[in-house]
């Protein structure tokens, strides 16, 4: 499904459809899901409450990764402190022990490093999961699309979706309440 224009090869990426209100896009999302679409998304200026359910998405699995990150932080901190204070070069400060009993003194740093590692895990795993940074995206070719960051609600459907049909999908989108529908093509 490629079109050759001048010297460029273009490929149809999909459709974007614009909605005016959260309520309408919510209903439309339900319809999309019921319509059997798989590769589509709802773009909104803010996270719409209940949209996950409407789109049929489960809860995020980010928390499990972060737990591992936090655990790594705790262990790093304990290892660093115990290793240096008891293993590598024990020193006597204020008659405090240089064995297991000294661990309570390590709690603050352990705690902080747990948080720090967790936070970094959140940041980096979030970026990986949502595939950002990605500065160039076919959706940005669309005129309609940028409205998502202002006051519009956008449903995008990818051409790769098995249910995608050049005309059928447009009509479907219009039928579920899209105010405007635009074909998005990407250059190759």
């Amino acid at each position: 499904m490629s079109v050759i224009t001048e010297d460029k090869v273009k490929r149809t990426w999909g459709y974007v459809a614009e909605f005016d209100t959260a309520a309408s896009v919510y209903e439309a999302a339900k319809a999309m899901r019921e319509g059997g679409y798989r590769r589509w998304d709802v773009h909104s200026p803010f996270p719409i409450h209940g949209m996950d359910g409407a789109m049929g998405l489960g809860p995020s699995f980010l928390s499990r990764i972060v737990f591992c990150g936090g655990l790594a932080g705790s262990l790093t901190a304990l290892l660093l402190q115990f290793g240096t204070q008891v293993g590598l070069y024990p020193t006597i400060v204020q008659g405090k022990p240089d064995n297991l009993f000294t661990i309570p003194a390590f709690f603050p740093v352990t705690f902080e490093l747990t948080i720090l590692f967790s936070a970094f895990t959140i940041l980096f795993s979030l970026l990986v999961i949502i595939r950002l940074p990605r500065l160039h995206h076919p959706l940005f070719e669309s005129k309609l699309f940028t409205g998502f960051s202002d006051d519009k609600f956008i449903i995008s459907v990818e051409a790769r979706d098995p249910k995608f049909a050049r005309e059928g999908t447009r009509e479907f989108l219009q039928s579920i309440g899209a105010k405007q529908v635009e074909l998005v093509e990407e250059e190759l």
């Binding site: 006597i92 400060v93 204020q94 008659g95 022990p97 240089d98």
Partner: protein
């Protein structure tokens, strides 16, 4: 991977001034000079003041022995600059690079000497300590002696021969001096010439002067120092005959009455009085009792059992009243008639009980009189002492020593002779500065103007030196040969440690120059040895004298005297007094009235900083806080609170003008202190000099104008009023009260008897151990056991905690400070400063509260009224001074040296984020300067506030340049010679690091290393008992500081730690300090008025 670096040909700095000189066998050979310059290129570079070198020099300076180190910052990759090691060409005997050498010597003082052992590193004397072998002194020194080493290196010392102010080279000066002064002098056989010398007990000087009389019969000799007690000499001569002085032997007295006599402090009498006094203060044994009558707190008054504050001019009345009580009424009758109100104003009960107590210990009682008291008081005291049987030859507390020196006329006679034209040429060698400190009666300025020529020999280029026709730089006592007798006559040789840094002459050198050319002493050849030493002509003179004084093998005796620091059996004989001295004709002069608001009494005292002014340029002394007022860098008019109120003085530092009886007026800042006699103002002499040097410039106020007559240090009838001005004083302590906390603990001898001697079980704890909060410390229930430094490591691998940390099984260091014998004299503070390279910060920084002394002498006042109600003295006066709102006769002074106490559980350690201060295996709280980043958290968390922070580059910059930072001149000090004093075994700290007492860890380490090196393949690595001492311990004149190895059962410290008086400062916090204190014991006479308050300073609070 070997890489080669090619270094450029080293440039030899030739023609630069070399300070590195020493009397050593090979001294002054080219090798030696080269060695000195090359072996220590950094030292040499500093001496030569090379800016380039200074710029590359690291701030952590270490004056290493035979190793050169000129470090750059040593960045990676870039090679450090090449440094050189320059060994001697020929070996210098006994010199091992890196090891100190110790020599005996003595510091001459007016009426005797302080025998010393001097530490030298490769020819540089760095530290003086009391000579423990000396039969009379047995170690110990004083604050001036400790600081005298700094004078040696004072860059502002007189360094040039001057003719009429113009600097001449030594050779040219000698030539012109020979022609211009010496030849005419010799030709005239001393006619119309006079010699003005300081007080000295040097047999060689006496011999030279008497020989000089023979060849120069016209010569006259005078003696002057402003603080000599002419009255005492006069009284001694009248009472016991010429050439005899009465020397108190304090440890033979059971009862001592000090009449305005600070014999433990600034008015020393006898020998080693502090140690002797301390020896008699052991509770449980027969304790001596000390009564003090004085106008203002002195160190002696501070430790007195009973103290009466009484104007100095009224002490004579007290003496008369006492004499009456002791049955000498007839002798003092002419004075008794003039007592006036004294019978009412002086507490009769006090006098009576005091007299009774003295009487009760007949033969063991002693009355001492202060130097400034008039001759009458000395005479009365002499009578009393005789009546009390104090004079019993060698066994009595007062010994009549026949020294045989003839008294010399004073400066007033000299001035008269000058004005009359009898003296035209004057040679001044006195260590004082007559143009600055001569009494008004001498009209010295006027007299000097009449002189044809004035020769001045002085270590300082002072006012006299500036006025002199011929000024000769003097040699420091560590630079010159000499000899000296102690008060009882023990002969010591003053050995030079180094050639005169600035080419100065000793007094003997100058005297010898006055002889006709084939010098009298040159006839006696100095035996076969050491020709090089003969460079100082004093050497032969001293040896000649010595030869006349000893019998037997003179060579051996000389060697022994040099080694031991004294000549055996050289004590002066004792005189036998007439059975009863004839009634002495008292001058029936009028006795001064009690001072009042309109007629204030001004007492001029020696300064605890600058003595009579001669130490004005000694920054250590300037900065050490006065033991009582805690003032630094200045003198002030000390007055009681009542006096201050009467004069309208509301804040310390307000300027007052003191107008003497004859109209002379001086301006001084006021400073209020408790315990002073009302309407008596005490001011220190010696300040406000114009020709002072960079350190002393602009410090303090000159009160010598109030000195109207020689020795007239008590000025009555002065008018005092505020001038409206203010002056910034720099006291280091702003609080008087212990706030009811049992910090310095004391109790009475009776309580000791009750609780310790006769007590059972834990009764002893009631004496001092349980004072304050320590009586109710809750039990400590730890989760884990802390390290036990006294439990043996199970195995070399094992540790008390199961961790890796092991303790040193041979050494655990500990210290006790006996507050009973510590009088608070500061000798330890200065000794510590000298030993540990502690910088001076200057007055501005002292005002900012940043003094660096590792030992701080805390001083508190307490009185029963304070104890009665704790709120009474919690009055905050803006400017940060908490003032007790009381001042009464029962006020007591308590002193306590506080340094790092080396807590086993040290709060400072746990808070350091970078492990810069941790515990060592031998129980030290060690401080790694090179790891410290300077968060100062440790200083905050130290309950003893013993940590000092280098807020600026104190060692690198002049005190005036601190705020300029890097903009200040790179070598801003202009004081390079001062660096030669530094102890090479102690890091010189840079800015931004904390420092504190280390227990002289350099000494401990070197002792441990020596023990190990000696042990070789044996396990016996314990440091021999008593072989390691700390600097403060060595310096303490009363042996209050004990230090030792707690793991060595033979060490006395172990016993002291078990003393019932032993207590830990702030034990409540649970820091387990290694330095503990022994509580003070006062020995009040229960019959005395106010006796119930004595020794209760630490009672009542917490």
């Amino acid at each position: 991977m070997k890489r080669k670096w090619h270094h450029p040909e080293a440039e030899l700095e030739s023609g630069k001034r070399v300070y590195w000189r020493s009397y050593d066998e090979l001294q002054d050979t080219p090798e030696f000079r080269e060695w000195l310059e090359r072996e220590f290129p950094r030292g040499a570079a500093e001496v030569s003041g090379s800016e380039a070198d200074e710029n590359t020099r690291r701030s952590f300076l270490k004056y290493m022995g035979a190793s050169a180190s000129l470090a750059g910052l040593g960045l990676a990759g870039c090679r450090r600059p090449d440094q050189f090691i320059i060994p001697f060409n020929k070996h210098v005997e006994e010199q091992i690079p890196g090891r100190p050498l110790y020599y005996s010597s003595a510091r001459p003082v007016a009426e005797g000497c302080i025998p010393l052992v001097v530490t030298t590193y490769e020819g540089r004397p760095t530290k003086v300590e009391g000579n423990r072998l000396h039969p009379e002194w047995k170690g110990g020194s004083d604050v001036f002696t400790q600081a005298s080493i700094l004078d040696l290196y004072d860059p502002d010392r007189s360094a040039a021969f001057r003719k009429e102010g113009e600097v001449l080279g030594a050779d040219r000066f000698l030539e012109e001096f020979e022609k211009g002064f010496l030849e005419p002098f010799r030709a005239a056989k001393g006619a119309k010439s006079a010699l003005l010398v300081g007080a000295s007990t040097s047999p060689t000087r006496d011999r030279l002067i008497s020989e000089l009389f023979k060849v120069s019969p016209g010569l006259q000799v005078f003696e002057y120092e402003p603080l000599l007690s002419l009255a005492r000499r006069q009284a001694d001569a009248r009472l016991w005959g010429d050439g005899v002085s009465a020397v108190p032997v304090i440890d033979k007295a059971d009862r001592i009455l000090a009449l305005d006599a600070d014999f433990l402090g600034l008015d020393p009498q006898g020998e080693s009085s502090n140690a002797r006094w301390a020896a008699r203060r052991s509770p449980g044994k027969a304790m001596a009792r000390l009564y003090v009558v004085e106008p203002a707190f002195t160190l002696t008054g501070g430790v007195a059992d009973h103290r009466m504050r009484l104007a100095s001019s009224q002490v004579i009345k007290f003496a008369v009243l006492l004499a009456e009580q002791l049955g000498l009424a007839s002798q003092v009758a002419p004075l008794a008639a003039k007592l006036g109100l004294a019978r009412e104003l002086i507490d009769a009960g006090w006098v009576k009980e005091c007299a009774a107590d003295l009487q009760s210990k007949k033969g063991r009682s002693l009355v001492l009189v202060g130097s400034r008291q008039p001759v009458e008081v000395h005479q009365i005291a002499g009578l009393i002492n005789q009546a009390l049987g104090a004079i019993q030859g060698a066994s009595g507390p007062l010994q009549l020593v026949r020294h045989g020196r003839k008294p010399l006329p004073g400066i007033e006679s000299l001035a008269a002779a000058i004005r009359s034209g009898a003296v035209e040429n004057l040679v001044v060698t006195t260590p004082s500065d007559p143009l600055y400190d001569a009494p008004a009666s001498a009209k010295w300025g006027e007299s000097v103007a009449k002189l044809k020529s004035l020769v001045h020999l002085g270590v300082r280029h002072n006012a006299t030196g500036r006025r002199a026709t011929w000024h000769i730089p003097g040699a420091h006592y560590l630079e010159s040969w000499g000899d000296v007798r102690s008060a009882t006559g023990v002969l010591s040789i003053v050995q030079p440690m180094i050639q005169p840094l600035f080419g100065g002459w000793s007094e003997l050198h100058l005297l010898l120059k006055l002889f006709p050319v084939p010098a009298a002493s040159a006839t006696a050849a100095a035996g076969g040895g050491a020709p090089a030493i003969a460079e100082d002509p004093g050497y032969t003179a001293v040896r000649d004298t010595f030869a006349t004084l000893v019998k037997g093998d003179k060579e051996l005796a000389w060697g022994l005297a040099l080694r031991d620091g004294f000549s055996k059996g050289s004590k002066n004989p004792l005189a036998v007094p007439a059975a009863a001295p004839a009634a002495l004709g008292f001058e029936a002069s009028a006795l001064a009235d009690f001072p009042g608001p309109d007629a204030i009494e001004v007492v001029l005292t020696p300064s605890s900083h600058v003595w009579d002014g001669r130490f004005i340029n000694n920054s250590w002394l300037q900065e050490v806080p006065d033991p009582i007022s805690k003032l630094t860098w200045d003198n002030a008019a000390l007055m009681s609170l009542a006096t201050a109120d009467a004069l309208g003085v509301t804040h310390d530092g307000q300027l007052i003008s003191i107008k003497g009886a004859d109209g002379v007026s001086v301006e001084v800042p006021a400073f209020r202190l408790p315990g002073q006699a009302d309407f008596t103002i005490q001011v220190e002499l010696g300040y406000g000099q114009e020709a002072a040097g960079r350190v002393g410039e602009g410090t303090g106020f000159n009160v010598y104008p109030l000195l109207r007559k020689e020795g007239a240090l008590i000025c009555t009838g002065a008018k005092v009023e505020r001038t409206g001005g203010k002056y910034a004083l720099a006291p280091t302590a702003i609080h008087w009260s212990m706030e009811g906390r049992a910090i310095v603990r004391e109790n009475t001898a009776a309580a000791y008897e009750e609780f310790v001697v006769k007590g059972h079980g834990e009764d002893w704890k009631n004496f001092s151990y349980n004072q304050g909060m320590d009586g109710h410390i809750p039990p400590n229930i730890p989760l884990y056991e802390g390290p036990d430094y006294f439990r043996p490591n199970k195995d070399q691998q094992g540790a008390p905690l199961g961790g890796r940390f092991t303790v040193d099984e041979n050494h655990q260091w500990g210290m006790t400070i006996d507050l009973n014998t510590c009088i608070g004299c500061n000798a330890c503070t200065i000794a510590c400063q000298a030993e540990n390279n502690i910088p001076v910060v200057g007055k501005e920084q002292v005002i900012n509260g940043r003094e660096m002394h590792w030992i701080r002498m805390d001083r508190y006042f307490s009185s029963p009224r304070e104890k009665a109600g704790m709120t009474a003295q919690r009055v905050y006066v803006p400017e940060g001074r908490g003032r007790p709102a009381h001042d009464d006769d029962t006020v007591e002074m308590l002193t306590q040296p506080v340094a790092c106490v080396h807590c086993e559980y040290a709060p400072c350690e746990t808070v350091c984020p970078v492990n810069a201060t941790v515990h060592s295996d031998d129980g030290l709280n060690s401080m790694a300067y090179n790891r410290c980043i300077g968060t100062r958290y440790c200083a905050n968390n130290c309950p003893y506030k013993a940590r000092r922070f280098n807020y600026f580059d104190y060692n690198k910059r002049r005190t005036s340049d601190f705020y300029l930072g890097p903009l200040a001149p790179a070598e801003g000090l202009g004081m390079t010679s001062l660096k030669l004093q530094k102890n090479p075994n102690v890091t010189v700290r840079m800015r931004g690091v904390i420092e504190k007492c280390t227990y002289c860890v350099q000494r401990l380490q070197s002792a441990k290393i020596d023990a190990k090196a000696k042990a070789r393949d044996s396990r016996d690595v314990m440091v021999p008992t008593g072989s390691v001492t700390t600097a403060c311990q060595d310096a303490c004149p009363s042996r209050a500081i004990s230090f030792g190895n707690l793991r060595d059962a033979k060490d006395p410290i172990v016993k002291l730690k078990e003393d019932p008086r032993n207590y830990d400062l702030l034990k409540y916090i649970g820091t387990r300090p290694r330095t503990s204190y022994l509580a003070r014991v006062r020995n009040p006479n229960p019959k005395m008025p106010g006796a119930e308050h004595v020794g209760t300073g630490s009672f009542g609070g917490h």
